[in-house]
């Protein structure tokens, strides 16, 4: 965006994001940083929700034959726990970082489509409420997070519970898709001069891969969900047993989405860790190219392994073998990452703030989950593991020990950038160690209970099965995790107000986002920097460190066109208006469109209740509202 003196056409308009505050400014913001913060808060709230669900689950399972919750409520708990953690916690936490960091890391003033960005957030926020609230009426989805047909269909799951799931997930998919188109465009097209693809920070790289996984995986679940919705609301036969429907169709479609989805969950965390480690090792990322390509490979292979979730369905030896071998292959690019991270630290000058501890925690813990993953990949052996707690152990090591650890690392690392203050290191250390011990205490025993025959998704189990000790350990560990989580919340909110002030570059990091003030002004960069290497900030502050890598200047014409200036640290405190930088208007319209979508889909619930006229009215009303708001959005100028 031009920082030229050309007077913006809207001079005098009073709706700059910088000029507003309060609730309205949050509802109408189109600033990627504010949207990132919104994502962060909302997702942390859902982390608490999903975590409390886990605490209930674990309390119920502490001992055999307990009856703290009913069977039906338990089924809702694990369904919602899985759904919440995957779709409302880890993906949005990643999205928080996409939003906040990508434009900063590539030297852009915003994302490609700021209003679409706001729209993504609002669809997520409203869709999340839609799927979460029913649990207070005991109406929450209860079909498991992969909702196998026909249990999720109208014949065997005729209540309202799964309605909320099929609709909620569909809506959340819209959010993820819209965001993905946005970030793909942003990363391809909004980079500062000189910021070539192979100079992008690793977090941006991994996010880039993730966006492609989203645009390729989500349409598949969209189709599968439409079938299920049509079955539930319009009487189609896709998964109806009596009509010859094949439950395996749902399973294949779900996992064609579901497996790439797990890499959607982990790659952003990998990216964050790849930022944290070099910074605190004072050494560049080892094997940058291999890191980027292995991310791409993981994403690509991720589309060819989905049926490893279905080894028990009897696909026949050929399919079993193909999917087994393909699955094992994913260990290779992932291994490259693990070893390259260690090599990054090796020979470095290591410092261990909390962020670094969490990053190292990810390496240590993800490896465990990865290895158990490879153990599942061998079907004859997986048949003894699938649908037991051994699987539960695997995916919590990769998800909690991997994704969540990486995200915590990211939060501690970027908190100073977002707020201008440090989080408390001592509280953070407590949280880290409680987390680390709690996580192992919770999930390691699950390997044992699983291999000793404990099925998953059971609300109770009998005494004398040899599982009591392990379950008790898991439950105790969960309470440690809860304490750790609450410590984190306390630290987070306290530090926001009272944390020690941090400068613009508190860690001595190599990438662009650290060249601007903390928190960054709404326009990010007063002057777009000209990037000449992978580590622009080190070029500036520790040139000896980057002496060994290639430097090159972008085209003069390009620099001129972008009004770019040589790399520098910014201290600019003037507003966008004073600087003459055109900023997008705040607008409520994306929110309204999102609201319209929710209303439109809610009509389906009314349809299920049986009130046809009201259902039509809701859907038509919601649809009209959506289209109207959309039209208003499209016809109003961006800036």
């Amino acid at each position: 965006m031009a920082s030229s003196a050309a007077t913006p056409t809207h001079a005098g308009a009073a709706s700059h994001s910088s000029e507003q505050s309060g609730l309205w400014s949050w509802l109408t913001t189109v600033d990627h940083k504010k949207i990132g913060i919104l994502y962060l808060y909302t997702a942390l709230f859902y982390l608490l929700v999903g975590g409390l669900e886990a605490v209930l689950i674990r309390t119920q399972l502490a001992k055999p034959n307990l009856s703290l919750v009913s069977a039906d409520f338990y089924n809702q708990l694990f369904t919602m726990h899985g759904t919440t953690m995957v779709f409302l916690v880890v993906m949005p936490l990643s999205a928080a970082f996409f939003n906040y960091l990508i434009p900063l890391q590539i030297g852009a003033r915003d994302v490609a489509f700021p209003r679409l960005n706001a729209f993504s957030y609002w669809v997520y926020a409203l869709g999340g409420l839609f799927i979460t609230l029913p649990i207070f009426w005991g109406l929450a989805p209860d079909g498991g997070w992969f909702a196998y047909a026909p249990l999720s269909g109208p014949t065997y799951g005729g209540g309202y519970n799964m309605d909320f799931w099929v609709i909620g997930l569909q809506v959340l998919g819209i959010s993820s898709l819209a965001a993905a188109f946005n970030f793909i465009t942003t990363i391809i097209n909004m980079r500062a001069p000189g910021m070539t693809l192979m100079r992008m920070p690793m977090f941006t790289w991994m996010s880039f891969v993730v966006q492609f996984l989203v645009i390729l995986a989500f349409p598949v679940i969209t189709a599968a969900l439409f079938f299920l919705q049509f079955d539930r609301f319009f009487g189609t036969q896709f998964y109806e047993v009596a009509a010859g429907g094949d439950p395996l169709l749902w399973q294949h479609l779900f996992w064609v989405f579901g497996h790439p989805e797990v890499y959607i969950l982990i790659l952003p965390a990998f990216g964050l860790v790849s930022e944290v480690l070099p910074t605190h090792s004072r050494k560049p990322l080892f094997g940058y190219n291999a890191m980027a390509y292995s991310g791409i490979m993981i994403g690509f292979l991720g589309f060819g392994v989905w049926a490893h979730h279905m080894f028990a369905v009897g696909m026949g030896p050929v399919a079993d073998s193909i999917f087994a071998v393909a699955t094992m292959l994913i260990g290779l690019p992932t291994g490259v990452k693990i070893f390259n991270w260690i090599a990054t630290m090796y020979g470095g000058s290591l410092r261990f703030p909390v962020a670094m501890k969490f990053a190292i925690g990810l390496i240590a813990m993800f490896t465990i989950g990865g290895i158990s993953g490879v153990m599942h990949s061998s079907p004859p052996s997986d048949l003894q593991q699938t649908d037991t707690y051994f699987i539960v152990a695997h995916f919590h090591y990769v998800l909690y020990g991997g994704a969540m650890m990486g995200i915590f690392a990211g939060i501690y690392h970027y908190f100073p950038k977002m707020t201008g203050r440090f989080m408390s290191e001592s509280l953070g250390n407590w949280q880290f160690w409680l987390n680390f011990i709690g996580l192992n205490l919770t999930f390691f025993p699950m390997h044992f209970s699983g291999m000793l025959g404990m099925p998953r998704r059971i609300y109770t189990y009998d005494a004398g099965q040899g599982w009591d000790l392990f379950n008790m350990m898991s439950t105790v560990g969960t309470y440690m995790l809860l304490v750790a989580g609450l410590l984190f919340a306390y630290n987070f909110f306290r530090s926001k107000k009272h944390g020690a002030p941090a400068g613009s570059d508190p860690w001595g990091a190599p990438t662009l986002e650290w060249s601007i003030p903390s928190p960054p002004p709404d326009y990010n960069f007063a002057q777009i920097p000209e990037v000449t290497s992978r580590y622009p900030m080190w070029d500036l502050k520790a040139p000896d460190r980057t002496a060994g890598i290639e430097h090159s200047h972008p085209d003069a014409a390009v620099i001129a066109e972008a009004h770019a200036v040589p790399m520098h640290e910014e201290t600019e405190r003037r507003t966008a208006k004073e600087l003459g930088i055109p900023m997008p208007f705040n607008t409520i319209k994306p929110f309204l469109v999102a609201l319209g979508i929710i209303i439109l889909f809610s009509g389906l619930i009314v349809l299920h209740i049986g009130n046809f006229p009201l259902a039509m009215a809701t859907m038509l009303g919601g649809g009209a509202f959506m289209v109207g708001s959309l039209y208003a959005w499209l016809t109003s100028p961006l800036e």
Binding site: F113, I174, N189
Partner: protein, 223 residues
């Protein structure tokens, strides 16, 4: 749904052209990413149709006649002549679409006076062709219902109507999009600087056409 959001993104118009890394317009990148994504959506829908082909427990069926347990006779459902006609119409609409784009892109250039340069005409023609296609589809759907095949009847009905219905919805969105362009063209005239607006619509439109090429072969012709 996704169409709407992508369209929304695609319309996120910057009034003045900004610097971009590739020199390309953001909207064009977004629409191609969107089309890539749509490949997976239609891939899933088509897969489902093919997987369920021949698995319906009751008729009517696409290519074979069927006698119900009560003795009622149903003829094969698919009507190739009618669909061939509508296929032809959709193919031609793609020609109109490129002509519309060329007319906008080259407005005022030599060779683009008169009919060839009339973007309004070609936009209208494209939209009309789309509408005719939709008309054919409406006719097809209603006649199937009369012949005893609804979306609820069997697996064939469910997967057929869903697949072609999704395609039809895409066409309908495209028609609305074209009409909007036509409206803008009539209001203020589209010129070379508006190429991107027509271009992204054209890409969408051709993609919808391409999907139909696949559907026509896989669903209608191959038995």
């Amino acid at each position: 749904m996704t169409t709407a959001t992508a369209a929304a993104g695609a319309h996120e118009a910057h009034e003045h052209t900004h610097y971009t890394t590739t020199g390309l317009d953001n909207r064009k990148i977004a629409i191609w990413a969107f089309i890539g994504s749509e490949c997976m959506l239609f891939g899933s829908l088509i897969s489902t149709y093919l997987v369920y082909k021949g698995r319906s427990v009751v008729g009517p069926f696409p290519h074979e006649a069927w006698t119900s347990p009560t003795g009622q006779v149903f003829k094969p459902i698919l009507d190739i002549p009618v669909t061939s006609a509508s296929t032809f119409v959709l193919l031609m609409s793609s020609l109109f679409m490129v002509l519309a784009l060329a007319a906008v892109e080259n407005k005022g250039k030599p060779g683009y006076e008169g009919t060839l340069g009339s973007s309004k005409l070609w936009l209208l023609a494209t939209a009309l062709a789309g509408a005719v296609f939709l008309g054919f589809q409406a006719y097809e759907f209603t006649s199937f219902v009369h012949e005893g095949l609804t979306i609820k009847t069997n697996l064939f009905g469910s997967s057929f109507f869903t697949l072609t219905g999704f395609h039809g919805t895409h066409v309908a969105v495209g028609v609305l999009w074209l009409m909007t362009l036509l409206f803008i063209d009539m209001k203020r005239g589209l010129g070379p600087k508006d190429t991107i607006l027509v271009d992204i619509c054209a890409l969408y439109w051709h993609f919808v056409d391409v999907v139909w090429i696949v559907i026509f072969t896989l669903v209608y012709l191959i038995q």
